[in-house]
């Protein structure tokens, strides 16, 4: 307990330095600015803004990136409420009741409660990270290659179950991602693999390039095909602060959703995606009058927003303690950390405590800043959203190009982004969801490394995964999850859940 307070004090001392505060503020601001743009989710936003952090020291860079991440999240919710275009999967739920509230002239209250719910969830999630970060790190030090491999298999199994399409297609995408991850030099021998003789591919495919292609560019192509179903809320935003009665109504959902989101976010395999859906369903079940949901129920905004933010933040836990990114955003964080010479994993906390705790503290500060800067800036975001898409997408595209070029100052990265933009477009047309592919790609290299290590230690016997109790449990869990997902009864329930 005293440890916790001491650590947090160290963290706040780091995060509250004027330079770091300024970086946190800047990150939140530009993150929101880009995140508000329709069709630009947190993944594309971070990939685009990654170069902004190159000149900063590692601690400052991570603080700024975390700010960009929360800003992008919050910007996505703003777009979902005001124009009913969710930037990414997790704000889909917010769009349901949030946009309905906006049409009833309560846009301000919807935005206000979203900010308040996010702030509350962020506060709790920060404490969760601070509280269980240290013990989990100790656990991680007991992990051998077999356990790491087992945990990542579990993560991929979860990603398959959480994907919205058919299980078979999700498995295909995971394997495709793993295959893409093998491109580049071999870990041990340095031999070129699947590089097609292109020298720029010998370091492998850059994750930011892949993510920007399939999420940034392909999203533009998708939006161009479905011309403007955009209805920017006209007229008054109304007052921003919810009334006491509203707050009382929203309080229960916020608390429940924060718990749900915090737990789901820790799961490997992007459990955070599930959090807003789970919260919405729960609140609808608990409500006295479920028919209000979809018509602008404040609980339907407060709950999912809190769940979303809590999950988005506790997703840092697997990354910071085990070095395993649970989703695409965290994989971009890995990229950013590596650029600054930090290898994410259990050693970060012991080797660079100021960085670790500074980042944890900045998460809370970032959430507070979002609350403060966004409420007055909502008018600006509304005006931005009124710019017609035919102009906006060209600007988004230019930002994408500059961002991707600046990561390595390499024109080839820009070409590869165009290529993966086409791949992403093809995936949309073929009904294949890119999210499991990205996770497969993210985990691919590490999985290969751990698999090879484990099998080298056991001299080629797969029994090593079953003889070690922890890895056996993890693999068994993965198996159970996969079996459940293909069982007809569960499959039906899952389809219904995604229908809602």
């Amino acid at each position: 307990m005293f440890d916790l307070i001491g650590n947090l004090a160290l963290g706040f001392a780091t995060a509250l330095s004027p330079a770091n505060l300024a970086l946190c503020f800047l990150g939140c601001l530009v993150g929101t600015l880009i995140g508000v743009l329709p069709g630009v989710g947190p993944i594309a936003t971070i990939a685009m803004l990654l170069p902004l952090t190159f000149k900063v020291d590692p601690t400052g860079a991570l603080i700024m990136l975390a700010g960009i991440y929360y800003g992008a999240q919050y910007g996505g919710s703003t777009t979902a409420i005001l124009v009913n275009i969710p930037g990414e999967a997790t704000s889909v739920v917010t769009a349901l009741d949030g946009h309905a509230m906006a049409r009833k002239g309560q846009a301000g209250i919807a935005l206000g409660i979203a900010a308040i719910a996010s702030f509350f969830a962020g506060t709790v999630a920060t404490l969760v990270i601070a509280g269980i970060g240290a013990p989990l790190t100790k656990l991680a030090l007991l992990f051998g290659p077999a356990e790491y491999f087992g945990l990542m298999v579990l993560g991929l199994a979860l990603a398959v179950v959480l994907a919205s399409g058919s299980v078979l297609k999700a498995v295909i995408m995971v394997v495709f991602g793993l295959l893409l991850a093998t491109v580049g030099q071999d870990l041990e021998t340095g031999e070129e693999r699947l590089t097609l003789g292109i020298a720029e591919l010998s370091d492998g495919i850059d994750f930011a390039v892949l993510a920007m292609g399939v999420f940034g560019i392909a999203e533009i192509l998708r939006n161009l095909e479905n011309p403007e179903a955009r209805a920017v809320v006209r007229g008054h935003i109304g007052r921003l602060l919810p009334s006491l009665a509203d707050l009382r109504k929203a309080f229960g959902p916020i608390v429940r959703a924060t718990g749900l989101g915090s737990v789901l976010g820790i799961l490997p395999g992007n459990g955070a995606v599930l959090a807003p859906f789970a919260s919405y369903t729960l609140e609808k079940k608990l409500a006295k009058d479920p028919s209000r949901f979809g018509q602008g129920a404040i609980e339907g905004v407060a709950g999912p927003e809190a769940a979303n933010n809590a999950g988005a933040q506790t997703a840092f836990i697997p990354l910071l303690t085990l070095g395993i990114p649970p989703n695409a955003v965290m994989a971009l964080m890995v990229g950013a950390m590596t650029i600054h010479g930090i290898i994410p994993g259990p050693l970060v906390m012991t080797k660079s405590p100021t960085l670790f705790w500074g980042m944890v503290a900045s998460m809370w500060i970032g959430n507070l800043m979002l609350l403060i800067i966004n409420l007055p800036l909502i008018g600006l975001w509304v005006r931005l959203l009124k710019v017609p898409y035919r102009l906006l997408f060209t600007i988004i595209l230019l930002f994408c190009c500059i961002g991707i070029y600046s990561i390595n100052n390499n024109p080839y990265d820009v070409y590869f982004t165009a290529f993966f933009g086409f791949v992403g477009y093809a995936l949309i047309k073929l009904g294949l969801e890119p999210a499991p592919m990205l996770l497969g790609f993210v985990l691919g290299r590490l999985m290969e490394e751990k698999l090879r290590q484990a099998l080298a230690l056991s001299e080629g016997s797969f029994m090593t995964f079953l003889e070690r109790p922890l890895s056996a449990i993890l693999l068994l869990l993965a198996l159970v999850i996969m079996v459940l997902a293909v069982l007809p009864a569960v499959r039906k329930g899952r389809e219904e859940a995604f229908q809602e």
Binding site: T182, T394, L397, I402, E448
Partner: protein, 164 residues
């Protein structure tokens, strides 16, 4: 789902036009390509894997999954048809990205920026010349100010004119 498959079994659509059938073919194609590219890499043994073990193993697995997807499409016969692919959007958007990549080193941001904006603007049917030129100029100026001067990124500005 069931209503959909009922109606389509009454008027069956050719199976090769189904989304999943084509998707399966594409998956098998990718797998075969990867297998062919990885064919010379040594596989090694389980205890000491060579560089080729995983690429080839995964390619085979992917191919099998592709076959399953096709089998699923043929047996169920109820899946959605392949969507129309548009040409205009991908052509101009991807063309703009490639043009930016080709122009940024030799010509600098001062040319590559407006180029990307003008080319991509044609991806939308509502393209308007004057508006596009104005936004291309303004946004390039904004990006130069932000990325080049405020953030100091080493992106070339106009090497042919300024030398950097």
């Amino acid at each position: 789902m069931s209503a959909d498959s009922l109606s389509s079994s009454r008027s069956p659509r050719p199976v090769w036009l189904q989304q999943d059938f084509i998707g399966g073919l594409a998956v098998i194609g990718v797998a075969a390509f990867a297998f062919w590219q990885g064919a010379d890499l040594p596989i090694g043994t389980l205890g000491g894997m060579g560089p080729g073990m995983l690429p080839r193993g995964l390619a085979v697995l992917l191919g099998l999954l592709g076959v399953l997807l096709i089998a699923d499409a043929v047996i169920e016969r109820g899946g959605p048809a392949l969507d129309r692919w548009s040409l205009r959007g991908p052509l101009f958007v991807l063309g703009a990205v490639v043009a930016f990549g080709a122009a940024v080193r030799p010509l600098g941001l001062i040319i590559a920026g407006p180029l990307a904006i003008v080319i991509s603007a044609f991806a939308s049917e509502e393209v308007r010349w004057r508006e596009t030129l104005v936004s291309g100029t303004l946004m390039t100026a904004f990006c130069i100010g932000l990325f080049k001067f405020a953030l100091g990124l080493p992106i070339p500005l106009a090497p042919w004119l300024l030398g950097y």
